[in-house]
Symmetry: D2
Subunit: 330 residues, 4 copies
């Protein structure tokens, strides 16, 4: 399904080369100031334009279709659409016989039996994350004063990635990267033990972001190599602050009041112009595939605002659910 959340519910729609992509946000509280200009910053950050990102140029002007009146959210579903203008004609039908390695061409065919809109990867396009970013702008307002921030830790294994990108452009190749996201200011008590743990809910939506192949909280995979005596976060004082934050702000699935920290592994863009040896799945023949078109040499460069949006959406839902279950003191 294309929706996420129990109380603050987000659904995305659209195709890369259709008229637009968009998002429907249901369950947003009324009375939040919201205008089309509020989306600009994060949509611009997602658009990037930095060296290594796609030459496709979209204005990304959001249009609020419903749910906002006199400058405030009304409590009714908010639909935001972002038009597709710079859609280049290209013969994507080729990829039905020779599916692009690492791409969703093959799986889309298997799932949708040949009916998927394959132009520019259709509904599977990273372009759909524009709607996610738009929903994130609203979610960020809901979780305030808690705030979310992402940053790239490394690209292609390097914290100084300029050279990696250059190499990708020269070699018509692509690179992956690691992005870290921190949510600060969330109080203790959000989330649930087991199935709706903070980690479960964040990981669920983060894995909806194309190209994500790993997520770890706090010490993450490094924790697997630590002793308990190193890993345990000692408390100090009366507020639950911990000396270290190996838990990434979550114990037993519930926020502990320390920053929620997670890192995400982003695979290298699968669409590369460099020739690839693969198969024609109609004939079984080995072929060499060269993918024309405009691609991101490194999609990780554009992930930070998308990750922030995903995290904010998850946290907004948990915050609203927390409100529903009042805590009673003996």
């Amino acid at each position: 399904m294309n929706s996420f959340g129990r109380i603050f519910r987000v659904g995305i729609f659209g195709e890369s080369h259709g008229c637009c992509t968009g998002v429907c946000v249901d369950g947003c509280p009324p009375g939040i100031a919201l205008s089309e200009s509020d989306f600009e910053d994060d949509l611009r950050r997602r658009r990037s334009g930095e060296k290594g990102t796609t030459p496709r140029r979209e204005a990304d002007l959001p249009r609020i279709v419903s749910g906002v009146f006199n400058g405030f959210t009304t409590g009714s579903p908010i639909v935001v659409e972002i038009a597709n203008n710079d859609t280049a004609a290209k013969d994507y039908a080729l990829f039905r016989d020779i599916p692009r390695p690492g791409h969703a061409d093959f799986t889309a065919e298997k799932k949708y039996g040949g009916y998927a809109d394959f132009r520019g990867s259709g509904h599977f396009s990273g372009r759909l994350t524009a709607g996610l970013v738009a929903a994130g702008v609203i979610a960020k307002k809901i979780i305030a004063p808690a705030a979310v921030e992402s940053r790239i830790l490394e690209i292609g294994g390097s914290a100084d990635w300029k050279e990696i990108i250059e190499r990708c452009l020269t070699e018509r190749d692509s690179a992956g990267g690691i992005v870290e996201c921190t949510i600060s200011g969330a109080p203790a008590g959000w989330g649930e033990p087991f199935f709706d743990s903070v980690e479960s809910v964040i990981a669920h939506i983060v894995y909806a972001v194309p190209a994500v192949k790993g997520i770890e909280f706090g010490a993450g995979f490094a924790a697997a190599r630590m002793y308990g005596s190193e890993h345990n976060d000692a408390f100090e004082g009366q507020e639950g602050a911990t000396v270290t934050n190996h838990a990434g702000g979550v114990n037993g699935g519930i926020t502990n009041g320390n920053p929620i920290v997670f890192r995400v592994a982003v695979k290298p863009t699968s669409s590369i112009a460099r020739p690839q040896t693969t198969a024609n799945i109609r004939t079984g023949a080995t072929v060499t595939l060269e993918i024309p078109g405009r691609h991101d040499a490194c999609i990780a460069l554009r992930i930070p605002p998308v990750l922030e949006a995903a995290a904010a959406i998850a946290i907004a839902d948990l915050k609203m659910i927390y409100r529903a279950e009042p805590q009673k003191k003996i």
Copy 2:
């Protein structure tokens, strides 16, 4: 919430020192052979008893309360309960003032305002995974002929972990580990783009397993350090088989017919007998805490069947959802 799944829905209940833990499985198809003895193998594997696991000894005899008749599932909710017998009396109330580092004592207090059953970690106990394992036994039957298998890759950073465990027992410390899970035999086409991607759904339920702090699919975090030309999985033949499986069997959120492979980081058990410096959160004073009781020196040793159960539950749901959405050919 304590439930998971859209069609095949699993809910767990119970407390470590209550009468039992259990699981309710809703949406299970009728006509699946099922008896109490079917649960034995996986419950025994979870129980372990291996060096480094808890001295708590539970028979783990499952009792089918509903949903099975004449040896077959009926289509009605299946409730399975597993009694708690070996519950040692201990003063857990101490941990309300001095919450155990790395544990859910503090967050449970914040969320439930002092009403949580804190005996043996109550509803937060790893003991709840017995119910998950029971549901997994049913899920494994649904996903057949697809099959799921887990194995420990390393404990404390070592593929040969005997020494690590010895050190933990001697030092009254604990160790983490990495466990890999493989689902083979799943056809292409299961899962959804975006919010219900295979990775999203598996990660969601896997993060419900206590002590999991990271999950990666296929090449995972290593993918972030690869070039696209290395990472892309070339196709060979007509069936969608790929030469490599860096994608871990999932493209665009949908199974591609190759094995689904993921790895999980398990943190070291947070309950350690070794003295820890931490705080009394009522007074703010720095204190030394020694945790008595029976603990796993390495919970990762017991994770494999739990991980298999989680994966099988997720995949069973995706398989059933796939059936609901028939594919039509032009």
Copy 3:
């Protein structure tokens, strides 16, 4: 599925002649005083024993399996089981060839392909409402100070139904009835426009109660014969009180602060001892069926506490959802 609710979620399980029926309540706030004796009154009202109700005699002693500690709800799932003791052996297999008219024998066969537990109607038995009543006891505590009350308006078309019941017992027949339910003390603002309107949510769960075939709010079907000038409820004063309550306390799907009033049509019990002409669906032959066993001559007599439970569960969920969506004033 056998669950209901978004935040306060209720799932029932069990079979008429299995070991027990029960309920799992997830999402219940912590800190609510709860003990097994709290269930007694409503379970006794449901059991009835009045003339015209089944001679099956169950003690209906509830057992709290989880989610309660030291006399209070913990916030974890609450499982309550009610044992089946008075299960008479009888040959229900007959009904697979000659399904009882008005009963679920035929549809259960079609849905579950012969695997359903058919003893005493299995999972379709009215006995499952014991779990619903148990959940209602908890829900009533959540919605307080709002309160819910049901009463029988008529049985067999008569407000004085003693004679009707006598006739049913003599003629080995059964009668239906109309039951009214009133929720008072709910403030304005609960519920949602459209899909989760108060009427939608209440009707959803009320139609889960076996034998219900109609539900109307406020003036209900009579409203279809009124003019707008008669039907509209004029306001008086500043608090939203209305002179009449033809709307049954709900406008635009949202509570208006006046009592929520609905009426339910309960069909006559389908199991009657009187001979019935019907078909053997294996052979197609016309046959005369006499149903032995213990039945309610009028199930409507036992519906009031079940209806209260259903209403309280629905309202508890809406109350908790309302809390999640804070109202902001300009």
Copy 4:
């Protein structure tokens, strides 16, 4: 929330005087022929224009925003928008002090704290049912060869309602009515016992239709006045056909293969031009309210295609869920 369904999921959005209303349909199978002209018939039937319906004239030209490619559904979310063109400027702010009797003005204020778009009733407008009708067009294709049909049984208590409408227009009043809906061709086995009974699911969505205040299946409220011997539907033959259909095609919450029949009570339109005595809720003063503008004298006249849409959406979801749970024969 503004969404409905588990597999076939429908969400509506928009406001009466915003740019458009619309619908998002998620979970639709791929490969269904669909074009904008497919929506015309049902949107025209809903628009009506018959004597007694609103003078507001909308072209109701649907625009498919996503999810359709080369004339077929793709399996991705389908968004359909219907523009609002004929929006008359009017001072709706008045109704914040003097809420219209029978309308959602008061409850919207209570729920949304003054932020709701009150122009033309905003999100509460019957205009939102245009999106529901659009989704119904898609659902009807999914449930084929089963088919759904609605007809007006009576208006203002009369099967010949011409005079009633004339009186309403002369007296500036409004009338209610009763509409019947029949789903034929659905096989036995759809739906679930208890919480997702066919009646539960249909009643849930039907009560989302503004002005509906009652729903009954089969004999409905009349069943409450029948004896079991009259009400029980005898089987004939081997296919499960019944001599009568008092059950309205549903036993134990599951379709029995006979036509599913339900009737709905539609209240008279609450917006009437005739003066009404009511209160100013800011001051508490008794006032006389005259509501200007364009209204339906009888909204029931426009309900049939909306009811068909609601029923088709519910049944489409149940059909898809049924497919997910394969029946196994011993």
